[in-house]
Symmetry: D3
Subunit: 330 residues, 6 copies
């Protein structure tokens, strides 16, 4: 089953263990980006994942593509050109000390993408799903335009579209507001990840509960069949509680709550949920099962270093079935 | 006090920290094997431990012997010959993600051992204890025969024998069943580690409780003076609860329950218990003390990377005395 | 604001992670010493910290000075001469296994310091604070004499003086007792860190509670305005509870209690408290605020590898304000 | 341009730097196998390389495939099944100390391949080249049969075939001799890498010079258009001289001689030559150019850690053009 | 003796050893920049080096300053503000494989410096030397303006000025040419590092030999007392030959030629020469001695990992005196 | 064949690769000491080597003993007591940059050894050789006395004794001169390693050539049957030439000259020679063969990290036979 994701991939550089930046003299390399993280997860789950992005045409850009391929993601639609590789520096916290990120992604090769640089008809041919996030339209006019072309093509071809409408106010530096840009993209969506505050702020879809706000979204955007969100209770950098909910306009499906301790790596756990949910919706007829699968996937991601979820279907199903005993498997 | 153990030693290869196999480009090396782990533990506790095995006659086999010697185990009775070094690949889990092992031990130099390759009369001369496990007779006819010769010699020389009758169904590939092989070996035992299910399955020694099943074992095998077992409650890969019990045919001696968090390395914790118990039975007149010492040893092993328990008598006694405060020792 | 600390700096050598000494073939390097740890903390908090010590005049001594400079501590008053660099070997424990330290600091370049080797008038010119600990006078007559000259100069110049009167009985090898040496030094102090047992043992300042013993200290040493102490409940090497109290002769200011889990590195957490308290007393008019700031600083230190606290004012204030959620900061 | 290679891929495990096995406690991981090395090289040179093999169906087998994909090799035709992952342990020498390899590849998943397990018609569809080596038929009857089916299909489809007829006498354990097996395979070849001793020993193709022996090969096997070989002068483990020659039945094309110092990693340098030569023959009309390209590629491989050549066309052409200055490229 | 340098400091990220980018999953961190490299060298030689730059006001910028302080360079004049930390990625070659650099320095905090952001009167107060390079005016108008203000202040205060007029055509992106910008800066120089091609291209100072071109420079820029250059013969990435020459308008002083093998790290070797020459001119009355000291310093830098020369005066003098035996010093 | 060595074992701490002390934040651990290095070499060559020393009774002392055992050296005669573990810090050079050592060995547990602490009659029972060096009597009166007791016992028991009379003037701090101490020890020797300058300085054994001085030694000390020395031509820290000679009072046996490049680790190469020579004299009837074996052993040690020679008889004989090609051994 072919799935397609679109977005920037960054090089993540982080001190070993829980050292601070000033202490270290080496940095571990991972690659990640919210949409590519979803692609890698879906590839691990057995789908034919294709990530679309634009990399600088140098050894680091080629390495980033190699990283995706290693984890089974097809890189055949990736473009190479000018601009730099986006970076982020991550310092991992512990206990009461928060992790912190220094972004260094301005003027990346991806942000220089042109509206027509991707042949979406070819890319989305025979696809079963397309996923995007609110990071992409925040980066540049070109990225926003290219994404719009993508979701519109998906809609035209009948490919379901999911959008994580995450809003980062320190992005959006190119002169447009999310209120101007996001609605046209959201119009093509089947599934939206967000909370009621975002629904209201970005689209004026107001409701006093998640369900009500979700229903308002569905009224404004008739293609939307599902809204979803995760709920995280941060007890410390090493201890979180996590659950999720999915609303189909009628019923709210709530997952069990996971107590997660210790946390190995929090980055990409939201993307792991999204991937698990997409897999669930594509595979199971039961929305409850899909949201349970998604949140179990996300819970496992917390135990895996790096941005991407390398858990398998079997591992997720074991946890979903209630076995969190961590018993040695021989 | 001379103690003797017999069994395969494997090279363990594991990604750093809690990385997955697919993520790593280097593997930490440890050596281990359930019987050799007992030998190393006993050596750390001050006994004169001798491990008997068969290694390939190449640099890796010689390195494995060096590893044992480093930890004080005498390697004077080790044989070298053809065959490979048994391996296992360990991926260490965390929280809800289980650790997993890929075994690669078929056709090892040890499995090619011949029945008469070890001069047991010499090896067991003046020994105070002999220890074996159910892994060995599962590997090959030669290993089973050689072990049988060993325990029979021990019995003849009056050397107490302990057996951990662990049963791994994916071993036992050489055409015989444990029911055919194990009884003759068990007949020479003083102490058996196992649970009532195993007592029943392997020997038909049935009982509705551990005590009853143990008593059935003692009836079938009159040399047995003690049966013992540990009880582990796996809350997650990082959090377990552990206790043990020892039954002498009359009284059941139960240890306190340890809450173990975090778990650094679970491998070899059962062997650490066995070594602690053997040390306790050899040293203390009090079976309660012996079982408490054993389970405290095992609890400490959970904090030590690698297969072997490097805790000292003093550390174990401190914990056994109830001090789990982990206060800095200067 | 210029602050001055005085004491030995040692090279700390520790196996990676929680390995035991016998397992490792490499040792991580940190530098630390209780007074220098205070200096680094104060530098991170924005003060102009100056550490005074004596190093061997070779590449390792120069490296130690470079380490202090890196973290913003001025090394302009450091002397170089004969003798060795003090060392300590640290094995970090986990759970029920305690960390342990092997000291190797005898005959260090610092212990060979002469009474008049430091020009205290210059060093303490315009200083706002001077800090010492009971380690220094325990090392050698020269160190004790030099410290005495320092605190007396501080008193003369009106520079507030804090002393952590820690008593290590295995030091004090040069023929004098702390009872002979410490009182003259303590006479110049504004703030003393210690508990009632120490107040009694070292100075005969007896009281049935911390407050009473503190009041006895203030009677014997009229310059003392504050006595302070931390309280640690060690549940395991990985889990502690921590609080502190400050007494000004009238009111006792008690901090909240922090539950600290996991512990990354316990070394230097007392020094982190002292630095936080000094910063608080210099910056806030409110003693309650100062003690809360100090204990929050110490709590954060438990999450940072090495001897020194690299937490910033902003991080400490966030924790002090009750946010221990460890939420990712972007 | 699609190229296909077929053969076993092993996990290589080697101590860091030039440490001996007994010294190390970690092993660097690479994957390699003579035919897969050729595939990776060809992928780096821009061709569409496809490697065909059989891996164990576990995390390590999947990791091996990921490694190939990372370097751009298509893994779509790879089979997964029972058996183990072949291993080899490499200790890298220096100066007068030779590198040494301990092979541990018996009974691998690849060696268990069946004659009809690969659908060669599909695999070789539209291929421009097929490459095999004498390792494969030495491993098992199944491997030999499957290879024979492959080369015969290639011949049928008109795909040029190259064979590196390397002979390792310690392989060939399954009861057949290379003299029995190799001729039928060689009958389908266009290009053969070997020396006159091998031509004589394996095929009875005798000649007093490389050219004469090559001509004898072409007489016995009329499909052969080229024979080729490299010449290595080993001055030490760190210093070699290397050249190559190619004979087309009429003209002998000899490359320049490279003085190679220091040698970073010798493994896979022959495969790098083969890949460079294949690329050259597919790309240039000039055999001299092809052999020069091949040997320059091989020279560069000596500077790259691991089994595979990661040099680019541009780097090889720079060296081939005579620039071995190693000047920094910005 | 106070010396001042001005320019950008970048974070250098490089794979361990001689791995390629695509192979590594960790990157070693160093900091460097041609002018700061000179400052660190001069600090190691005992001078009071002050580096002036502008860093981003975040943990990485603060770490860069800490790096300079560690090596004894004063960071008191450093500014902090908006913009990113310039980066470069270095892949270290070996033998015939060249090292390569991917720069990622656009829009750095340094390039955003304003002409009047540095109080040059204060910075250059009591300075004995000021050093700049052609990288700085190539980065931005602000950097060029700020540099011009610096050299003009130096000239006014009578501080000798050295300029390495290195020309990188891929910089100079802000709309001005070096021919427009460089002459005004060069007008304040005492010492210029460059070759005759650069003298001609940048300033129209033509000559058929280095001496003639140097004399033309001195005619155009009467403050110039010395021109200097190094000569490097690159035999491979691991083997170079190096010498230098200094011309004072009358006499040409040529150094001995160093045969350098192996090369550990070539980066910063030119800066090491410059620092050695500056030290020599400030310390020795003999220009021959100065150039010999400079080239010996540079030769030693080739043996030191990272961008900066950590050789001491004593080590340089030993080499300068002809002892390149590398005999162990105890 | 039992051989005995006696002397201090130190913990060696060195930065990774060729980093300088100030650059590193981790140190590689090795253990070494000139006499123990000889023991490890002899153990690798198949002899039953026993090292006698005194270690501190803590985890590091126990680790040092474990290190010796790992390499096959018996530690049964080692004493444990007070005092510290001697250390040395090694910075490895490259090319023209010399390696340097900072010793930190004063007041070690070994230096506190008492004259009668070793039961030499037992230790030397059935021994075939005893080896000492001039480091030991330089450390303390106790060490000198204990050594004297050892060699005298050896002489009494007819055990051949070799002494490397190395003289380090910065040792000998306990009030005696080597001229006072060394002759009585040397009186028991069969084989002495030294040069004519040392023979003259320490014993007044004067001669204008090595042979003449050696003959003078044999006249003064009639037990001496052989004198030997190595000759090293240091071209750089990475390139040496090495040979050796052995004189039996009549004939001088000179080895071939080895050109050694690159040098991985120079430490312990003299000890490797001594061990090779001892092995040769014990094994071959031909002194020429013995000296050739010794220098080939030493040449190989230059390729091995750490203090000890891990070359095997087979590797040494291959090199001795002229094969320095470093060809891969499979």
């Amino acid at each position: 089953m072919k799935v397609v994701t679109f977005g920037e991939v960054m090089l993540r550089l982080s001190p070993p263990g829980v050292e601070r930046f000033v202490q270290t003299d080496s940095l571990a390399m991972h690659f990640g980006g919210t949409e590519a993280n979803v692609a890698v997860s879906l590839s691990q789950l057995g789908l034919d994942a294709n990530h679309v992005t634009r990399f600088p045409d140098h050894a680091l850009g080629r390495s980033a593509a190699g990283y995706l391929r290693k984890y089974g993601v097809s890189t055949q639609y990736i473009q190479y050109g000018d601009g730099r590789l986006g970076l982020y520096f991550l310092e991992t916290g512990a206990g009461s000390r928060a992790s912190q990120i220094i972004y260094d992604r301005a003027d990346s090769a991806f942000s220089r993408i042109k509206a027509d640089e991707i042949d979406w008809e070819t890319v989305l041919q025979d696809a079963s799903w397309f996923h995007w996030t609110g990071i992409t339209p925040a980066l540049s006019q070109g990225a926003a335009d290219c994404l719009l072309a993508g979701v519109q093509t998906a809609k035209k071809l009948g490919v379901p579209v999911s959008g994580d409408i995450v809003y980062r106010s320190n992005l959006w530096q190119y002169g447009r507001t999310p209120q101007e840009i996001m609605p046209a993209i959201t119009e093509c969506c089947t599934l939206v990840l967000g909370n009621k505050a975002l629904f209201s702020e970005l689209y004026g879809a107001v409701g006093s509960t998640f369900q009500e706000a979700g229903r308002a979204m569905m009224q404004r955007f008739p293609t939307i069949k599902y809204v979803t969100d995760t709920k995280r209770n941060s007890l410390s950098a090493s201890h979180n509680q996590l659950s999720a909910k999915l609303f189909n306009g009628e019923t709210i499906f709530k997952s069990r709550v996971y107590d997660i301790q210790p946390i190995v790596d929090r980055i990409g756990t939201g993307d792991a949920y999204m991937a698990g949910l997409i897999y669930g919706l594509l595979t199971f007829s039961d929305p409850q099962r899909a949201v349970e699968f998604g949140v179990a996937a996300s819970a496992l991601k917390h135990t895996i270093p790096g941005d991407v979820n390398l858990a398998t279907v079997s591992e997720i199903e074991t946890l979903e079935a209630g076995d969190s005993s961590g018993k040695l498997r021989r």
